[in-house]
Structure formats: structure tokens, C-alpha cells
Amino acid sequence: MIRTEALCKRFGEKVAVAELDLAIPEGEFFCFLGPNGAGKTTTIKVLTGLLRPTSGRALVGGHDVMREPEAAKRLLGYVPDMPFLYDRLTGRELLRLVAGLYDLSASTVPARIDAVLADFEMTGLADQLIGDLSHGMRQKLSFAATFIHDPRVVVVDEPWVGLDPRSIHRVKTTLKERTRQGLTVFMSTHTLSIAEEVADRIGIIHQGKLLALGSVTEIKGLATRPGSLEDVFLELTREEE
């Protein structure tokens, strides 16, 4: 469902992502790990069409995100790390805007909005201005906006910042349940315990290069001595002195 082929992104001399090859099948919960500046967000932005790859390509549902952006975007949902939304719209108005941008059938939109608001426990706050919402509430609204068009692929960039434990549980459960119904999730996170809990497979990127790829068990097996995912992560991404 998601594929990158020799994906490369440079910013001037700096190589942010180098020759990344990934293939994530339908219904997989994929966690993308790496230290700050490793290339996670750059990869996500290329996958979502917000950045152009320097070379190589990224495909969503078989559609090249650069050559067939509209077809790829119809399948895609994205939750950014910082929920920058329109502060002077209410949550409901934002969802109607997003539904309009995806040209959803007008007759189904109100019910759809109510459903996603309920999914993320935002019904009571739907008619408040977004500017009045806390960071965590905005993040939940981002999730609701992402699911309004029923995407087949969801790309999530470090979603846990600002969410309370109950909301984290809710989001985690919702994403996991939906993967069982065929949704593909590509999630970048620093929270290794959550990755360990939900991921079908894990990829570890460091300095733009994919260092490891496999199931949680396979990744743990890469350590020189048995340990947690955290131990493997620290070992693999250790900076040379």
C-alpha cells in the first residue's frame, strides 16, 4: 500500500533521506523510529506530497505521489506532529471544510462528522473555536479530520505530544482496530513502548539511512545482547565519538 523506491531527499549538501526502499502492505501498522533529525519527518512529508523527492519515488496505493497526487491523496490521511489548524473556525466547520475539499457527498457529511467526532471524543467541543482548544484537543481534532474521508492509508507524525493517557489509549486502540479492517498506518514516534505495543513491523532510520527493518522480535534480535527495544534503538543509533 505504501512503497518507496530509492527515495532520496537532499537539502543543499545535506542528505536527509538516502536511497530509502520500503514496502508496507495493506493492513500493516508500521512504526518508523529514529533520533531527532534522522529523516523521519522528511520521509513522511515526501510520502504525503508536501516535499518533492530529489530522486526516487514514493507510491501510495500504487499511485506516485508526485505524478498522480490527487489519486494518491484520496487514499491518504495525515496527522502532523503540530496540529496547526484554522483557529477561527470551529471544529465542526473545519471538518466541513475538509469534507468539501474531498468533495464528499453533501447528504452523508453531517452524519460522517458526528461519527468521527464521537470516535475521538470531541462531540462536546465541536462548536468551539479551534483557537480556544488545548494542544491535545487540537490533536484529536486532527485525527477526526484525517478520518473524515475514510482513508486507506494514514500517516502519523509523533501524535502523542499533548495527549492525555486516556486519549493516547483511545487513538492507539482506534488505529489498531482500523488496521484489522484494512487500514495501513505509517507512524513516526519517539515513544518506543507504544511502538513495541502496536507495531506489526518497525523501521529504524538514522542519518537518512534505514538501519533496520522487521517485526519487533526481529528488531530486538539485532542487539549484541538481549534487551528491550530501547536498548536496540540506542545501540543502533549510537553516534560515533
Partner: protein, 564 residues
């Protein structure tokens, strides 16, 4: 280093980085903006010089029993009027700047979390507001000052002394603006919105009723003598106004009257220091409370059904266009910075329309009709240029860090540009076309002149909207949330200059079309009137097409490629 010293040092570094960042801008853009600013400055200088020269030639007239040179009376008053207008503008613009600086800048959270004294924070904010307010005042005031100095053959010392007087001259309205912002933020969050609107409307009605007799009395008349003119201009020359002290300091410097210069400089400096000291006290009394009040406002729950008329009204539009337009309209209507400036803008327009019949009756003569038509169109085009530069140019930038949301949707980015162009063209034409129609009817313009004026305004609404949307997409600033700052950047300045250029050329084409016989006679062109008029209209069409197409193409290409 003291808290104030540290804040000043940080502000200086930020300013240095901002200036250094100009090097990253394209050379062509910087060159066009610089030349444009010089060009506009020269125009202002030319107008001021012409006016001072005209007054200088008035000669001597009897005022009561005394014979006096009219220029000796009028020039200081002209300076005082210019200074008063600048100060009034400064109070308003500094109030808006202060409101942003005190309550919307992220650095305030840092500053208020430190033990820095509130007086020091207020002083730092005052310097910031005064600095940003000062450059526009200096830009508008310097050509007037230079023109005055040249016409009066003033010594060179006039200019450094004027610069010295300019500092307290700016600090006083900046301090007033800061105090207004602090007090408003402290009090307004507590007032219910409906009550506030009713109170403002009542104040406006009372002010208009109170000022109406004075305004009627102050209007220019067909035959106004010197005594009348002195009385009329005297209202802006009160000895209690800082603008008068500034004007008197300049006049005295022109006369080499050191004592008078010293007196007025001292008046300005003492009052500026006092205003800054009072601001410190106001900040101590209100700043923390205002922050708390702003942070404690209870979120209002909006009815989900309220505003349903807008989607229904726009129902014929495709869904993405419809919802993008609704989003733009709601964002605008709920942004106090945007609609308050729009209210001021439309208030000034209303005054313009309301005062159309107060000009001397001689203006209704046939010989003036052509010029009145030109001036009427010019006024409408200038309104259109101001409207598009101030409110349309920032639209793409204001998508800001939310642009990811639009970029993710299966909508081509150019759709966003087309939607904003359509919205802007319709709104601009409704406003400026309405203005042209209303003013044309009040001035009793002939139907042909009115039709040509409306056509020109329609063409200009499209071209100026395309210019603003295209340049807005070509030079977006996704990090800035303040539309005022977006407009005052290089892209906004370029948009303003090119808009003015278009206005000048479009108005010229229209004038040539309406007065072709005179133009042909003057330039010795042998074309018939029909051919000449058609050529002028063709020129207007080509100019409009180029002004529409070129920036839009550049904007679309850039926005298609921009990475977030």
C-alpha cells in the same frame, strides 16, 4: 546587564538578522522595491514642494489692520496639519502594533516568566513599537520636510534638528498607542461582545452629531478669504498639541531661532519622557491583569446552525470552491485585526462619499467634468489597489502553517489561487464599482463617462486581484500570522508599487479615451476619435490581460512547487 539592557540587545540582534535576511531575497525584487519606494518618495516630495511653492507666491495680504505675508501664516500651519495627521496615524498604527507586540508575540510568554520588571518590559515594547511606527512616519514626513526647507531656503541645521525632534515626536503617539492597547486588553475581554458593539456605535453616533456643526463650518467655500483660511487651519495649530511643537521647532530651525528650537525640543522631550513614564505605570497596573483576562475568556460555543445561509448562498459552486470561500469569509469575520482595519477603511470611504457634494460649486461646471471623471475613477482604483494589497495579498500567506491541510486534499494547489482570485475580484468590484457608481451619480457624470469608469473599475478589480493573489503566491510568508506584517514585507511592497503603476496606466488610458480630441490635438496625432478611443481601450485591455496573466502564472508555478 540589566533586564532592559538584555531585552534591547536581543531586539537589536533580531533587527540585525532581519536586515541581513534581505540578502536572501532576489536582487530583482529588492531593486524593484527600492526603486519603487524612491519613486513614490519623489512623488510625495513633488506634491509637497508644489504646495509650498504655491503658498510662497501668495504674497502679502491685509489681516485686520496688519499687512502680513500669507506664507508666514500658512506654512507653519501646513506643517502642523501634516504633523497632526502623522501623529493621528501613528497613534492608530502604534496601538495595533502594541496590541500584537504585548499580547500575541511569543516572546512575551518568555519575558513574563522572568523576574524582569514590568516597567522594563513596557520600555522595551515601547521602543519596538516606536521604531516600527517611525519608519513609515519618516518615509511620509521627510519629503514634506525637505520641500519646506528648500522652499524656505532653510539652513542645513534644520534637518538634524528636525531628526532630533522626530524621536520624541514618535515616542509620544507610540506610548499613547501602547497605553490604549493595554487598557483595551484589560477592559474589553470583560465586556460582552454585543454590549461592546452597541457602546462603540453609540460613541460613533454621538461623535458624529457633536462634530457635524464644526465640520460643516470648516468646509472650504468658493470664496474663502485669508481670515477664513487662517481660522480653518488654526484648528490644527493648538499650542497643546505635540504636532504643533514639532512644526514650531522646524519653523524656528528654518529661521535659525535657537531659543525657540530649544523650547519646543524641550517640550517634546519632556512630554515624551512623561508619556513613557506613565506607560510604565499603566503597564504595572494592567499588563499581568490583561494577560490573565485574555487567557481567562470563556470559550464561546457557537450554534452549529448559525451561518448556514452562506453554504446555501454558495451552493452553485463546486464543493472545494464553496468551502474554501466559506473558510476565508469566516476567518476574516472572526479576526478582529482584519475587520477592525476593514471597518476603518470603509469608514473613510463613507466619509469620502458623504463629502462629495461639499466641494466648491464651480466643480459642477462642464469644464471640470472630465477631470472629475478621472479623479472619480482614480479614487475608485486607488481604493481597489489598497483593498487588494492590504486584504488580498496576505491571503495565501495566512494559510500559513495550516497549508499542509489544503496540500493534502485531492485539490490542485492552483484551485486555491483561482478561488482566491474569484473571491477577491467579486468583493473588490462590489466595493469599488459601487463606490464609482455612487460617486458618479452624486457628481452627475454623463452616462458615457460613468459607463467607461465602471468598465475601468471592473478591469482593475480583476487585474489588481490577480496581481495581489499572484504575488501573494509567489512571495508567501507562511511563518507570519500578522497580515499587517505580511503586507509590509518586500512582497507586499512590490505588490503595492505594481498596483500603483497599474492604477496610473489604467487611469491614463481612460482619460485618453474620454478626452481623445484634446489628446490628439496636443500630441499632433491624426487618428479619428473612434480610432483613438478604441486604441486606448485596447491598451487598457492589453494592460489588464498582462497584469492578470503574468503574476498569476508566476504565482501558480511557485505554489505548485513550494515545499512545506
Amino acid at each position: 546587564m540589566s533586564a532592559l539592557g538584555s531585552i534591547f540587545a536581543a531586539q537589536a540582534r533580531q533587527l540585525g538578522h532581519s536586515i541581513a535576511s534581505v540578502r536572501k531575497e532576489s536582487t530583482l525584487k529588492v531593486a524593484v522595491v527600492s526603486l519603487g519606494m524612491v519613486f513614490l518618495w519623489l512623488i510625495l516630495f513633488g506634491i509637497a514642494w508644489g504646495m509650498f511653492r504655491l503658498v510662497d507666491r501668495f504674497g502679502v495680504e491685509m489681516l485686520g489692520d496688519a499687512a502680513i505675508a500669507i506664507s508666514e501664516v500658512l506654512m507653519p500651519r501646513m506643517l502642523a496639519i501634516a504633523a497632526l495627521v502623522l501623529q493621528a496615524m501613528l497613534v492608530l498604527s502604534c496601538g495595533l502594533l502594541a496590541s500584537q507586540s504585548f499580547f500575541r508575540s511569543t516572546e512575551m510568554r518568555l519575558l513574563l516568566g522572568t523576574p524582569a520588571p514590568l516597567r522594563a518590559i513596557a520600555a522595551a515594547k515601547l521602543s519596538e513599537v516606536a521604531f516600527f511606527g517611525a519608519w513609515s512616519a519618516a518615509y511620509l514626513g521627510s519629503p514634506v520636510l525637505l520641500a519646506y526647507g528648500l522652499v524656505r531656503h532653510a539652513p542645513w541645521t534644520l534637518y538634524p534638528l528636525a531628526l532630533l525632534a522626530f524621536i520624541p515626536f514618535v515616542v509620544i503617539p507610540a506610548a499613547l498607542g501602547c497605553m490604549l492597547a493595554l487598557v483595551a486588553a484589560r477592559l474589553l475581554p470583560r465586556l460582552p461582545r454585543a454590549g461592546l458593539l452597541v457602546a462603540l456605535a453609540l460613541v460613533a453616533v454621538v461623535a458624529v452629531l457633536a462634530l457635524r456643526p464644526r465640520l460643516a463650518e470648516a468646509r472650504f467655500r468658493d470664496s474663502m478669504d485669508l481670515a477664513g483660511l487662517v481660522q480653518l487651519t488654526g484648528r490644527a495649530h493648538s499650542p497643546y498639541l505635540p504636532s504643533t511643537w514639532f512644526a514650531e521647532a522646524v519653523v524656528a530651525a528654518g529661521r535659525r531661532d535657537t531659543r525657540e528650537v530649544g523650547f519646543h525640543l524641550t517640550m517634546l522631550a519632556a512630554n515624551a519622557a512623561f508619556a513613557a513614564w506613565v506607560l510604565g505605570g499603566v503597564a504595572q497596573a494592567t499588563l499581568l491583569g490583561a494577560w490573565s483576562a485574555l487567557a481567562s475568556t470563556v470559550p464561546t460555543r457557537r450554534s452549529a446552525r448559525r451561518g448556514e445561509w452562506l453554504p446555501r448562498l454558495l451552493a452553485p459552486l463546486p464543493a472545494p470552491w464553496r468551502w474554501l470561500t466559506i473558510k476565508d469569509a469566516l476567518q476574516f469575520a472572526r479576526d478582529p485585526a482584519q475587520w477592525s482595519q476593514a471597518a476603518i477603511f470603509f469608514g473613510v470611504l463613507a466619509l469620502y462619499v458623504a463629502n462629495m457634494r461639499t466641494g466648491p460649486r464651480a466643480f459642477s461646471a462642464i469644464m471640470w467634468q472630465g477631470w472629475i471623471t478621472l479623479l472619480n475613477t482614480l479614487a475608485s482604483l486607488l481604493v481597489a489597489a489598497t483593498l487588494t494589497t492590504r486584504f488580498v495579498f496576505p491571503l495565501i500567506s495566512l494559510e500559513g502553517r495550516r497549508f499542509w491541510l489544503l496540500s493534502l486534499a485531492p485539490v490542485r494547489r492552483r484551485t486555491i489561487i483561482w478561488q482566491k482570485l474569484a473571491l477577491s475580484t467579486v468583493v473588490t468590484f462590489v466595493v469599488t464599482g459601487g463606490l464609482a457608481l455612487l460617486s458618479g451619480l452624486r457628481l452627475h457624470l454623463p452616462p458615457l463617462s460613468l459607463a467607461v469608469a465602471l468598465l475601468t473599475v471592473l478591469a482593475a478589480s480583476l487585474a489588481l486581484s490577480a496581481l495581489a493573489v499572484g504575488l501573494g503566491a509567489l512571495y508567501p510568508n507562511f511563518r507570519e500570522e500578522n497580515p499587517g506584517r505580511i503586507v509590509s514585507g518586500l512582497g507586499g511592497t512590490l505588490c503595492f508599487i505594481l498596483s500603483m503603476l497599474y492604477v496610473a496606466l489604467a487611469a491614463t488610458a481612460q482619460t485618453f479615451a474620454l478626452r481623445w480630441a484634446e489628446v490628439a490635438r496636443h500630441w499632433g496625432v491624426g487618428w479619428s476619435t473612434t480610432r483613438g478611443v478604441l486604441a486606448c481601450l485596447a491598451a487598457l485591455v492589453v494592460l489588464t490581460a498582462l497584469t492578470t496573466w503574468l503574476p498569476l502564472r508566476a504565482g501558480i508555478r511557485h505554489l505548485d512547487r513550494v515545499e512545506l
